[in-house]
Symmetry: C2
């Protein structure tokens, strides 16, 4: 893979009640272009990720063209992509394919989402109702099967109007606890660590620190999760400029970050209804092979902590820690900035925020910032190799999309 | 561009009330794989186009993963793309980029759409309401400006509950008539020709021939269009297998069709509100340059006749006939099978049907069938070079996406 990230940009994540999705997308795109030292007219293809504008705003078609009208990019291909919470990393994947193909020397990937509307209830309804509706009964049924094989603590709140996603993650957490002895306290430690990381991130939705005790005492979502252990409902946008080796040289940037490997995969039990529980692990195996480095070479990671258990699972799948060791690693401080394998220095989905169609590129924004040594007080010193993982959607108990990327600092 | 179409497949277009979108998509995909002599497990990336499932069925996320569950393709990337009526050709464009990049040697592009529901009214409402909502007032205002500069015949029906698309096409038609002397009769000739072509196409939604007089006398949609001059509301799916040169050789197929050039562009007046009326012409210019052949080399074409005027405009933009000559070319029989530049031998959107997220790949299905000499009684004899054009969405009066592809028969 010879492609480079020339520039990255993002809006702060949070509530942008009075700013349109288009304006958020343009702000992120302009920031990425400025960062790359390029103009909009230099872009040869734009790939735009969004997940819920159809459900929330009723704009189902040509979303990217409408979002990016504020930029002067007439004539180029605009490709609208969707892969649930992995929509932005899918945009990056497609944009990188265009660059690698030679069809474009400079590509713009954008992810943008507005989830918070004036009517908050409608926002959450639309989000939950839109998701995997055709499969939802199947998901819930298979979830029930899964949970039945797992010690399920009594939970008065389960089955209430929570997102099916939180229910599935809760089942994952209960399974992890039963199999590996992971504790609720460790989940709270992951959350406290991420909230502490984002205190220094001006792009984060939340910049408030919580003690482990505060997190344990917070309002419950579904056992074993309390609110600070779950990703937020957020607005925001993020973008990246991807360039060929020639274009990167031409731009003369000493800040270009190299793409060593990228993977996009889906699970979902397609093979005759069999649930493939290993899609992330298999993707990680191919990723490291492609990157010609291994998890021990990684200096910093951003992973998909839609809930605290998500971070624990994904750092295990990536091989950054051993199977079942994710919770302990957090408790030992290994995944904090200053530890041996810092995870989610941005604050992650739990605290930087999770505007779902933008998240994958926000992870890349953080990684690029770290690899350039520009992360200020949350800098992971000497970071040279980094990995980002972004998951999207559920089919049964499997991710419908999982994206992984290995990036390398300029030499 | 060294990429090949190894296989194509489609369902008949029409009304599939009792068949799910997923089943339609799988049927088309399986047909394309069978045609290529491949299995689903040979596919390295799947790119899936769909436009209105969110609006009509409430399935907003991970549509392709859910559609293709019937195939055994666990693990590969699935990319969901949308570009309104050009969604399927956008899927082909992205799939071809993956093949050209080396990230995949064999790619599957699928387009699928269900627009006809048991509640027909809801189908049309959803279709119209979903489209370019954010820009709709602007579109109508600019349409009014446009129409005001054009002799607008009295039209009692304009402004009624027709699709904004038909209104825009009607304005295009009135402008073409005023500028070039194109006649309503010529529009009817285009429609009659396409309906005659599809009489022999078992995949067509309509296989009934109409005389020019019958078409002129049919129920009016918006002046100057009657129903047979407008594309249908349709269900259906189409698919193609794209392969690298090595993979095409490996498959040992003598029926592979070469991709000589492909373009994807958008207009939409992005440059400071200026309407760029030439996006299709500029895309065509780049297309022929890339293909190293010209419009005079084309033996057969499929173009986006969402209405009869669409065909006339697009064959002019492609340079297949001179500016303003599209209507006359139809009247002289030049665009019929047997003429010097047969257009829409499948019957086009007007008669083969227009399940919008599937149309671009149905055009490619027809072209590949023609270039293989397998089109039976509607075969264009000796067809070696062909072009397909597929447009999608409107921003103001410009296409949000226009896709063009030049294909070449195996030598």
């Amino acid at each position: 893979m010879r492609a480079y990230l020339l520039g990255v940009g993002m809006t702060p994540f949070g509530r942008w009640t009075d700013v349109s999705l288009a304006e958020l997308a343009c702000r992120a795109a302009r920031a990425a272009l400025d960062d790359a030292g390029l103009d909009a007219c230099d872009v040869r293809v734009a790939v735009v990720g969004n997940a819920v504008q159809g459900a929330i705003e009723g704009q189902h078609g040509i979303r990217g063209q409408l979002m990016l009208r504020g930029l002067e990019m007439t004539g180029i291909p605009v490709v609208n992509v969707e892969n649930a919470c992995a929509s932005a990393s899918t945009a990056l994947h497609v944009a990188t394919a265009y660059v690698a193909s030679g069809l474009a020397d400079i590509a713009l990937a954008v992810g943008a989402e507005k989830m918070v509307t004036a009517d908050r209830g409608r926002s959450l309804d639309a989000f939950e109702g839109s998701w995997d509706r055709a499969d939802r009964n199947g998901t819930l049924r298979r979830l029930a099967d899964f949970a039945a094989a797992t010690p399920v603590p009594a939970d008065a709140e389960a089955g209430a109007a929570h997102s099916v996603f939180m229910d599935v993650y809760a089942a994952f957490a209960r399974d992890h606890m039963a199999r590996y002895g992971t504790t609720v306290r460790q989940l709270a430690v992951v959350s406290a660590k991420n909230h502490a990381h984002s205190a220094a991130n001006r792009n984060a939705q939340y910049r408030r620190q919580f003690t482990v005790e505060q997190i344990l005492a917070a309002r419950r979502v579904v056992w074993p999760f309390t609110v600070p252990m779950c990703s937020a409902v957020s607005d925001g946008a993020a973008a990246a400029v991807i360039a060929s080796a020639d274009a990167a040289r031409g731009a003369g940037s000493s800040r270009a970050v190299g793409i060593r490997a990228l993977e996009l995969a889906h699970g979902g039990g397609w093979t005759g209804g069999h649930i493939d529980a290993h899609v992330s692990r298999r993707a990680a195996h191919r990723l490291w092979e492609q990157a010609a480095v291994g998890p021990r070479d990684v200096d910093v990671a951003e992973v998909h902590d839609a809930t605290a258990i998500g971070e624990i699972q994904q750092i295990e799948h990536l091989g950054l820690v051993g199977p079942g060791e994710g919770g302990l690693a957090a408790e030992q401080g290994r995944t904090s900035i200053g530890g041996d394998i810092p995870v989610n220095p941005s604050g992650g989905l739990e605290s930087r925020g999770h505007p779902i169609g933008a998240t994958g590129l926000a992870q890349v924004f953080e990684i690029v910032t770290q690899l350039r040594g520009e992360a200020g007080s949350r800098q992971v010193h000497g970071a040279r190799i980094a990995v980002a993982e972004n998951g999207g959607g559920l089919i049964g108990l499997e991710e419908a999309a999982v994206s992984m990327i290995v990036l390398e600092a300029a030499s």
